[in-house]
């Protein structure tokens, strides 16, 4: 018998390692508190454009909403989803079920964004997505609990594809990452190029992941003598292709332009102007766009790593600010009780803030605001730190996003 007892003790010794995750904490019961969870990438590829900067932007929104003066407390928690859908969905469940989180904000990386979308909808909370690109969030997988705030792939394709043709880039060649995301980006952009009277000269598919050298593909693109080389890829692939395009002088002579279909200001910063100059891209927010955006950037203060706010971080600010206005309007109890109601109230109110100006939220959850086509400045044109873009064109809010009827969102039909 001693053996048995010993083994039992041994088994019990392993228990603390497994334990420690209480099912439900008392904290979740408090009533006059709004809890905001910032869920994003704190360690990977999207850390700089979302990451701790997004949390800082959310804190600024809380402070400026003036909601604490009305006796409403707001708490912020943050976590790293490591760009893994299972981690993101587990954190979202724990936050809502155990910690009483009412709103989940940011969530870059499409797969994680969609996973969290389902979790939030099942539990009837609020989801303000700023970081993810997938237009499915307001299309096939739209939800009455979700607002897709900042940008999406349709918008990027339309702005870069359409506006670029209007600006004279008539003939295109695509360097496309060979997976669904790249294909969709290429297909959407091609449609806009054609609809504006441009033509597609060809494409080359680059294996994903695992392509580190794009020079061979870029040269194939160059030989097509297209005026625009569209980079239908993302993240490290885009950075490597832009870098190697500079190395191989693909754009020399000004005959060819590179168009990045998913490039952020933080990527341009990482590349440096020497390499990135002449690149054309679309964003919905640029810190140096006007007095209001500059003012916002100043109020936000220094972000980790000395970076200036990205459109994703600006979207977190703007989204939370608007949510808190809705909360103030409808009362904390009501806002906490039903995420659908809170989102409906957000949709009923016009939006206004320094980052995106005046805007609105459509029934499918799409936030509307203008979109800008930028060209990256040459080093000689840049007047100071983070002076990166010159404005080429603006798409007004009512044309920047996919028309309501085309998304296939079930909320619209009913």
């Amino acid at each position: 018998m001693t053996l048995n007892r010993r083994t039992l003790i041994a088994g019990a010794a392993a228990l603390p390692a497994l334990g420690g995750l209480p099912f439900r904490s008392a904290k979740a019961q408090a009533q006059n508190v709004i809890r905001i969870g910032v869920l994003n990438d704190q360690s990977g590829l999207y850390r700089d454009l979302s990451g701790p900067g997004s949390t800082q932007a959310v804190r600024l929104a809380i402070q400026e909403s003036g909601i604490t003066n009305r006796g409403i407390q707001v708490e912020v928690v943050q976590a790293d989803h490591q760009n893994r859908p299972d981690v993101g969905s587990t954190v979202a469940r724990q936050w809502i079920d155990r910690d009483g989180v009412d709103v989940i904000v940011d969530v870059p990386t499409s797969s994680v964004a969609l996973a969290v979308n389902t979790v939030v909808r099942e539990r009837n909370k609020v989801y303000i997505n700023s970081g993810a690109a997938t237009s499915d969030l307001t299309g096939a997988q739209c939800s009455p609990n979700t607002v897709h705030w900042t940008y999406d792939t349709w918008m990027l394709a339309q702005s870069t594809g359409g506006a670029m043709v209007r600006a004279g880039g008539k003939s295109w060649f695509f360097v496309t990452a060979d997976y669904a995301f790249g294909h969709a980006l290429e297909r959407d952009t091609s449609n806009f190029v054609r609809s504006q009277g441009g033509e597609i000269l060809g494409n080359v598919r680059t294996p994903f992941p695992g392509t580190t050298d794009f020079s061979s593909f870029l040269q194939q693109a160059q030989r097509s003598r297209a005026q625009v080389i569209g980079l239908a890829n993302a993240g490290g692939d885009t950075i490597n292709s832009i870098k190697q395009a500079a190395e191989f002088r693909i754009t020399r002579g000004g005959r060819t332009k590179l168009a990045g279909l998913l490039v952020f200001v933080t990527d341009v910063h990482a590349l440096g102007l020497e390499t990135a100059q002449g690149l054309v891209l679309s964003e919905t927010f640029y810190w140096d766009l006007n007095d209001r955006t500059r003012n916002f950037t100043q109020r936000l203060g220094a972000l980790p790593g000395g970076i200036r706010p990205s459109m994703v971080q600006a979207g977190c600010y703007s989204g939370v600010l608007h949510y808190l206005k809705a909360v103030a309007d409808m009362g904390v109890q009501a806002a906490k009780a039903s995420g659908t109601e809170a989102v409906a109230r957000m949709k009923a109110m016009p939006t206004a803030d320094d980052c995106f100006g005046e805007g609105s939220i459509r029934p499918d959850g799409r936030k509307l605001h203008p979109c800008y086509l930028f060209e990256v400045k040459a080093p000689s044109e840049s007047r100071g730190a983070w002076d990166y873009y010159k404005l080429l064109g603006t798409t007004p809010a009512d044309q920047a996003f996919r028309p309501l009827a085309e998304g296939g969102c079930a909320l619209v039909r009913s």
């Binding site: 334990g19 995750l21 299972d86 724990q94 797969s111 389902t118």
Partner: protein, 329 residues
């Protein structure tokens, strides 16, 4: 010489002859503790977390069948785990299969995938085996990224948990938990049975001394291949279960870092012990949970645990405990 093989090796155990359902008495006691824990824990711990532990526990058990009992280190087990998840998720969502069928199908496809891969990989052993399985798994990753049914980098989302046998709704976490617990225990008992069968004895003979096993007339390649397929199939079942629990099947589960993670779980728990992989899965999942807010430190700490285990702690948690009490667990 126990330490020179990759496994904890066999320990001199008391009461070796006395067995209860094939367990030695200490093993049986530990088994009862485990069952009791599984039965009680969902009432005071967060069920989705426990389900994750059980899914990964089964995955690690499947992996351990190869490394712990045949001595083959697969560095590509994510392929079977992830593919099982995709198949179960797809059939549950698109075909509306009931959960038990979806999971079984996930396991079957995992095993089917393991057949050609195992057949190729067992041509080499040791380090080569590890590298070949890694490279083959990388091909599965490429496939999953391209194949239309996997949803590319978005993965398969909003997979319904469905109704067990078409009758019992699994929508609540508690209902799902009991299914996961049942799958886990069945997998555990199956592995236990295999290890203690004559087949399992041959597996161990291969691990200890393959040429001798061959000289005794065993076609060791056949045994290795069967073990490989079985392990891949169980990994597929674990992956299928996990995708139903969380309602998603994505590329994360076929990525090579997942293969690394299951190695780590098994190593932490104790290679070649039957309870080790489960404990290891618990430790690693708990750690990932608590470290979610620390970002890149998760990788650093996981790496450090790897190093610590290899250098100072080769028996793993369960192996050390077993050694302390001179029993086999």
């Amino acid at each position: 010489m126990a330490d020179t093989t990759i496994t904890a090796g066999s320990l001199p155990a008391a009461n070796e002859a006395e067995t209860i359902f094939g367990f030695t008495r200490p093993q049986f006691a530990a088994f009862l503790v485990m069952v009791a824990f599984i039965a009680v824990s969902p009432f005071f711990l967060f069920p989705p977390y426990l389900m994750k532990v059980l899914c990964f526990g089964l995955f690690a058990l499947a992996f351990n069948l190869l490394i712990g009992y045949v001595g083959l280190l697969s560095f590509g087990h994510a392929a079977y785990f992830g593919m099982g998840g995709y198949i179960a998720g797809y059939t549950a969502k698109a075909w509306g299969l009931s959960p038990e069928l979806a999971i079984i199908l996930g396991g079957a496809v995992g095993a089917l995938l393991g057949l050609p891969f195992g057949w190729l990989a067992i041509r080499r052993s040791g380090i080569y085996f590890a590298m070949i399985t890694l490279a083959l798994a990388q091909m599965v990753y490429f496939f999953c990224l391209q194949a239309p049914f996997t949803g590319g980098e978005d993965g398969i989302q909003a997979i319904p948990r469905g109704n067990l046998f078409g009758m019992f709704s699994l929508q609540s976490d508690m209902a799902m938990y009991w299914l996961v617990a049942a799958v886990f225990l069945l997998g555990f008992l199956l592995i236990h049975r295999v290890i203690h069968s004559p087949f399992g004895q041959v597996m161990k003979a291969i691990r200890e001394n393959e040429p001798r096993a061959i000289s005794l007339g065993y076609r060791t390649d056949d045994y290795k291949l069967i073990a490989f397929v079985l392990s891949a199939g169980l990994a597929g079942i674990a992956g299928g279960t996990k995708s139903l629990v969380f309602g998603i099947a994505t590329l994360t589960d076929v990525h090579w870092s997942m293969s690394g993670e299951v190695v780590l779980m098994t190593l932490v728990g104790g290679l070649g012990t039957i309870f080790g992989p489960v404990v290891g899965a618990g430790v690693i999942i708990t750690m990932q949970n608590y470290l979610a807010e620390f970002g890149a430190w998760v990788t650093v700490i996981q790496g450090a645990i790897f190093i610590a285990c290899v250098l100072a702690f080769r028996r793993g948690v369960v192996g050390e405990i077993a050694n302390l009490f001179r029993v086999r667990l």
